[in-house]
Each structure stands twice: as structure tokens, then as C-alpha cells.
Symmetry: C2
Subunit: 260 residues, 2 copies
Amino acid sequence: MKIGYIQSAPVFGEKQQNFGQIRSLTEGVKADLLVLPELFATGYSFTSKEEAEALSETTEGETARFLKELSVKTSATIVGGFIERENDRIYNALLIVSEGKVIDTYRKIHLFNKEKLWFSPGDKQLKVYDINGVKVGAMICFDWIFPEVCRTLALQGMQVLAHPSNLVMPYCQKAMVTRCLENRIFAVTANRIGTEHRGEDHFTFTGASQITATDGTILSSAPTDQPAIAIIEIDEKQADNKWINYYNNVIEDRRTEFYF
Amino acid sequence: MKIGYIQSAPVFGEKQQNFGQIRSLTEGVKADLLVLPELFATGYSFTSKEEAEALSETTEGETARFLKELSVKTSATIVGGFIERENDRIYNALLIVSEGKVIDTYRKIHLFNKEKLWFSPGDKQLKVYDINGVKVGAMICFDWIFPEVCRTLALQGMQVLAHPSNLVMPYCQKAMVTRCLENRIFAVTANRIGTEHRGEDHFTFTGASQITATDGTILSSAPTDQPAIAIIEIDEKQADNKWINYYNNVIEDRRTEFYF
């Protein structure tokens, strides 16, 4: 199957412009799974909860509509970030969209930094989706630092992890090598680039979106400062093989009776 | 406190010669914690269970005696590997020795490759020891690939991980950066060098012993092909601070209700 990331440079609050960037980057592109950054349509650096609320949507909103259009145009399952509104709560969430339909949302369970001021923590289980025979899981950005997230998804049979991100620290890309190795999964980390200087915050996003293989090999690494798209052909069934030699299986060898 | 590794080149089956290597490397050395490789006294590549049994010892054996002597000479707590025998079982284990006394042993819970043919899997809990006010935990080599091991130790307050190793794969040293970051701990990975060609097995051990800080910084990295010793001064109390910014604590932020 063909999996890829789209690395864009969102402009704060300018959804149509941000959709346009993705449209240009995906012109003529066909794939099976495409991952977009966290909050790719809205930008990241809110200065108040109200500001984030004003950019929030339901799964019927314009970002969902755009991703449905993109899934049809590219024939790919699309995973991309948005601000999800439900009742009086908003979440740092992502949409999983396939063949013009919303399959589900995931709401970031580990909020980073001031996200805790704007968003409610995720309240949905970590799930793996069978999409056209491929087992796809998803997490958002800072979820990476908790090994339990990838492990929980791998234990549900995840073959490919979709990982929309807005990374500002330098650690994640290397850590994804470990995450893939310890779980024998593929991962697509889609990061954004650019800077946001809003209120007292100044963020520089680190780009370097990455596709990582089950043995930790980095199959694709984007530049740190330019929009980019990469599509890599993988055999997702390699992720079903948890044996790393004749004697060791990274899942079956777990000694859960000794773990807290 | 001063923590360090001793990277040696064990000769298979030659315990006195291997003790001698460590004695030379530690001449005049004073420290608080010194970590030796896995199976530093025996070598690694057994060709039968009987061969491993013949090199096994209790906590009253010559390897324990040597480490007690070393702990007095260096004033350091010593953590180093040995083959532990109890009743009719043998284990790939390590000794924790301080001030001339054996504190405990740990028996590797995740056996690598043919170790499964010679050794019984570890049957003791992962524990953290308060040694002169420092919280020390230990694991052996391949235990690294299971994130649950460091996590279980970190949840018990571990500040410094002692990690005797006989690494033959190229992944662990980088993964220890992730292990330290995700748990905010210090780690001392003591690897061996050299090759062993015994029976049908040919192993090259990768050296590059490493001391890693709570933020993933590599404080010391040994050569891949020479004996080495390094001692680094750290403030172990940095490991008690699990906050990575004003809002995020890598332990308290865990959402255990969502983890398998």
C-alpha cells in the first residue's frame, strides 16, 4: 500500500488558505493513506479558549467536508487534525475519513502545554480501524512521549500509525524509531513547518515529517523548513510479524505479570 | 553523585582474566555507582546448557566475592552480570553490591535469542533500591526493548538505571535516549566489546556504552572497539522532576484508563 505525509505551513485562522495549500500539494496524488498535521486548518497558538472555540467544528463542518473531498480526489484514507466541538466542549482532535465518509474522530488524550487551557482532554478509547483490510491507528503529536499509546494500539493489531503533529521539541522524530521497533509497526508522522508568534507565545515548528518502518528504518524524512509531500510503498503485512529472530517476539515475550 | 560504566572485552570462560581486566580498568577509580557488562566474567555464547551451568554461581561465589572487593576498593555500588544458580535453575542475572555486601540479584525477565535455551526466565519483581539515598533500578540488555521495564522502575521512583548489556543489535543506544526522556531518568548502559565465535554462533558486541541524562542528552559514549571506563558527575535529584514544562508532567499526565 502507499502511505504518505503532507507537511504544510498553516496560516493561523485562515482555513480556506490552509485547505488551498493541501490542495496544491496533493495535485495528481493517489495513495492509500495520507496523514496531515495536527490542527492543519486552524493553526496552533490560541490566545484564549474563545478563539479556539470560534475555530471549532463538528464532523459535519467545513474541515470534514474538505477531507471528504480530499479522500475522493486521492483515493486515500485521510487522517488530519481539527478542533472538534461537542456540546460545550472542544477537543484537539483528528478526523479519519475514507471514500468520502467520516469514519471516526480521535481526541488527543495527552494535551501539551497551554492546550490544557483551551481543550478538554480526550475522552475516547484508542482504537484501531480496519480500512480496506489495513489496520490503522492514530494518535496526536505529544501522545508520542507516552509509550503506552503506541503499545495499546499495537496490541489491537495496528499495522500503520497515523500521527498528525505540530512538533516544537526536537525529540519525537528519533523517538518514533524506538516506537516502531518496540512494536514492529509502521508510522507516518506528519508535522507542520513555520512559526507562530501570538500573544506571549512564539513557536517554531520543526518539520522533518517522517515515515518509519517496523525495524526503525526511516523511509522518508522531510525538510525542516519547506512544505513537502512524500508517498512510500510499504507492505503493511510486515507489521503482523512481531518476531525479530527465531526466539524473540516483541509482543508475545512481554512479561505482563512484572509490569505496573 | 558519580556514575559510570566499565566496558570490557570478556574472554569466554576465563573468569580470573576477566576480573583482571576490570581491576586494571578501575585502578585508582572512586565513584558512587559503577555498572559492568552483562555476563562480564563468563562470556556470552554458550553452546549448551551444561556449559552455562558449569560457569554458574550463587551469591556466595567468586564473582560476588570479586564485586564485593571492587565495591570496597572504589567506594561504589557495583552492578554487574553473572550466571545465578538456584536449586536446579540458572538465570542470566546481575548482582547489586554495595560496601562489601550483596544487596540483591535481578534475573533478566526478557531472555534474548538462545539465552532461552540455557537460562530460566527471571522470576523476581523489578525493584528499586535505596542505596545511600539514591534510588537505583536495574535491567539487563534486551529488557530495553520493552518500554514497560523502565516505566515500571520509574513508577517506583528510580533515579538512576543500571543496565548491564551484551548488545549485538545497533538499536539500544538510541532507544535509551527515548527511555530516559519518557521517564526522566538517568541511565548507565555498560556494554562489552569483542567477538565470540563459538559453535554455530558468531557475535560481535557493539560497545558504545552510554550514560544518558533525564532529557535524553548523551553524557558519555564509549568507543565501539576498545575497553573503556567513564565516570560522570550527575545530580540524581533531577530525576525526581517529571515536569517538562509548566503544564506537563510525564508521569502525572498518564491517562492509564486508556492504556491496555
